[in-house]
């Protein structure tokens, strides 16, 4: 409940978990970097998004990095994402959970929040030693107060479709375009559109649990859900 003396503003926390492994080199990573200003512009120009959505950017390759902690993206200097090494899903999920916990715990007590959403995108599959299921379970643990909705996007020739399905809580997609760079652009457009629509729609008792995805079938193939 609100404290008598402080304003509590509604927050829609969004965590972008982006693959920056070596396979992203070239067009895909350029497309990723090119899309961030569009997201920032949306935050700066649309009050229904900019006043509610808070964005965090987490990258992963061999390790996970919180490149931008949860913040008003309109007010930060955008990073340039760089290509790194291998692909470690476990590191991605562990770092994402840390970013969610840290970001939401930093908000004033009683802040009204939307259910956090993680947008995960990858063009590969887990290559590090050890399994990643435990880290994913920790991230999706429904008993965790901040358990997010995880939406997973796969693209490229090397993507493991079953992994993308496993990662998502309910919604996973494969990008259709033949060009990986164009696939990344469409994923980022879908991500920005979903943030916009969800921020604008206040309630939805439907099965979507308040999340509104903008993933046109022209560009994406919805994958059937898979439970762990």
């Amino acid at each position: 409940m609100a404290d008598e003396s402080s304003e509590l503003y509604t927050i829609f926390p969004v965590f972008m978990v982006l693959d920056v492994s070596a396979s992203m080199a070239g067009g895909p990573l350029e497309a990723l970097n090119d899309s961030l200003p569009a997201l920032q512009k949306e935050m700066q120009s649309n009050p229904t998004v900019g006043e509610i959505a808070r964005i965090s950017i987490v990258t992963f390759s061999d390790v996970g990095r919180t490149v931008v902690p949860l913040c008003d993206l309109a007010e930060v200097y955008l990073p340039e994402l760089m290509v790194e090494g291998g692909t470690n899903f476990a590191a991605a999920f562990q770092e994402t959970r840390r970013a969610i916990e840290g970001g939401l715990r930093s908000l004033p007590k009683g802040t009204p929040i939307y259910r956090p959403v993680v947008f995960f995108m990858s063009d590969g599959e887990h290559q590090a030693p050890g399994d990643w299921a435990a880290a994913l379970n920790d991230l999706r643990d429904r008993s965790w107060r901040f358990a997010p909705e995880v939406v997973a996007f796969g693209f490229g020739d090397q993507v493991n479709v079953d992994s993308i399905r496993r990662i998502a809580t309910r919604f996973s997609f494969l990008a259709k375009d033949a060009d990986p760079a164009m696939q990344v652009r469409e994923i980022m457009n879908a991500l920005i559109g979903s943030i916009r629509t969800t921020s604008t729609s206040f309630r939805d008792p439907s099965q979507a649990d308040g999340l509104h995805l903008e993933t046109p079938t022209e560009f994406f193939t919805p994958l059937p859900p898979m439970t762990l």
């Binding site: 409940m1 120009s45 996970g64 902690p69 770092e95 206040f202």
Partner: protein, 428 residues
């Protein structure tokens, strides 16, 4: 929580709490001076002069902005020059305000956002943030190309709470069916009550081009009961404004026809009526989904029944006390109950005793009342005494960061005796 104390434990006999105006306006012989209405134009003056300097920005302390981003893994760069941070020599983006440079890609037609100190208020008509569609560029703003489509808006004393972005241009999507007014207002004496009500379209609808989806209605029955209905169409349903409007009409019609029906009875009837109206418009029940409440008052006693997250507050001694339960730990974008559904979700019912002023409101306003001391203060001041129709509109004109839902409130004041229309002699 203590802020929303239980009504029964807080209120005493209404005779011990005369309306605030009574001290200055002792009950006269005629009804004309019994409940003087404060006009909207005379709203409490909080406004800072347009030429005065805005309050300093303080993003470091902004409650909704976490501490400046810091890399958690990449320690290659110096701590003061992380890759996402503004390079040295450039003003931080957070200081964008009057006179400050703006991102080159920003194309907002309005002024740069500004943020008062957390919890602070700034009049919407001041330099910090113009009212929706304001045509006047605040003093100190950089000169920008004239926007021929910016709408003129008269100044307002309503506050701006927190940092807000310029209001969007209001648009209506082509082929919008079942449009509702962007603004509805009432302020009338009816039986033993004064009812002031208003419904204002939310900023989100101005952006998406969809109509206001809230609705309200009220009437006094032949037996003197006041029937009030309020509803909030679900944003995800394409024609939810039809459901909200039909629900309110159905509740009032049933309340006028059947004196014995309880608030819960009226809610159930109204939900069925709304469903029938959906059929009349060839709409599926799911397309008109909404949440709603019905309140029935007989003198100072009342009863409220609701399904969903509309709410009710008692206003007494300048404080709001929520009368219905709220689940603060639930995520704000998830609602479990809605209408019209079969079977009908069990309504939450609250009985009221010795009430003097009750506010029924939709979630857009209830959220602001729960979470914003600034809004609570403004609305308590605005509704401390019954106001005229312009005062009701002025009350809803505040802007608050993140507050983009439709706003609807019905403010019910219980009178000590009915007020009748002016006779020619008294109005002369």
């Amino acid at each position: 929580m203590s802020r929303f104390r239980d009504l029964r434990g807080h209120w005493a006999d209404p005779a011990e709490h005369p309306p605030p105006d009574d001290a200055e306006h002792p009950p006269p012989d005629d009804a004309e001076h019994d409940w003087p209405l404060h006009p909207g134009g005379a709203a409490p003056a909080r406004s800072r002069g347009a030429g005065e300097a805005p309050e300093a920005l303080d993003h470091a302390a902004a409650p909704d902005t976490p501490a400046a981003p810091r890399a958690t893994a990449d320690a290659a760069g110096p701590p003061s020059a992380a890759p996402w941070e503004q390079p040295a020599g450039l003003p931080p983006a957070a200081t964008a305000g009057p006179g400050a440079p703006r991102p080159p890609e920003a194309d907002n037609p309005g002024p740069a956002p500004d943020e008062p100190a957390p919890g602070g208020l700034a009049p919407a008509g001041s330099a910090e943030a113009p009212p929706a569609g304001s045509a006047e560029a605040p003093a100190g703003e950089p000169t920008r190309p004239a926007d021929p489509w910016r709408l003129h808006s008269p100044p307002t004393a309503a506050p701006t709470v927190g940092k807000v972005l310029p209001a969007p241009r209001p648009v209506l999507a082509p082929a919008t069916a079942f449009r509702r007014s962007m603004l509805s207002l009432d302020s009338v004496f009816v039986g033993g009550f004064h009812v002031a009500a208003g419904s204002l379209v939310g900023t989100a609808h101005l952006v998406s081009g969809s109509p206001c989806q809230d609705a309200y209605d009220f009437a006094v029955s032949p037996g003197g009961r006041l029937i009030v209905a309020i509803a909030d169409g679900l944003g995800s349903r394409p024609h939810s404004q039809v459901g909200a409007r039909s629900f309110c009409e159905g509740a009032v019609q049933a309340g006028l026809a059947r004196e014995e029906l309880t608030a819960a009875d009226l809610l159930a009837y109204a939900a069925r009526y709304a469903e029938s109206q959906a059929g009349a418009h060839r709409l599926a029940p799911r397309e008109i989904g909404f949440v709603g409440a019905v309140a029935v008052f007989a003198g100072s006693r009342g009863e409220i029944a609701r399904v969903g997250d509309v709410s009710a507050f008692a206003l007494a001694d300048g404080e709001f006390h929520e009368l219905l339960t709220n689940a603060p730990d639930e995520h704000v974008n998830i609602v479990t109950d809605a209408l019209p559904e079969q079977p009908l979700p069990a309504p939450e019912v609250r009985r009221l005793e010795a009430v003097r002023r009750v506010v029924l409101c939709t979630d857009g306003l209830a959220t602001d009342l729960r979470n914003s001391p600034g809004v609570r203060s403004w609305l308590a001041e605005s509704w401390e005494a019954p106001g005229d129709v312009h005062a009701m509109g002025e009350a809803l004109r505040f802007r608050r960061r993140g507050s983009h839902d439709d706003r609807t409130a019905v403010v019910i004041s219980v009178l000590e005796r009915p007020v009748v229309a002016d006779s020619p002699a008294t109005s002369a």
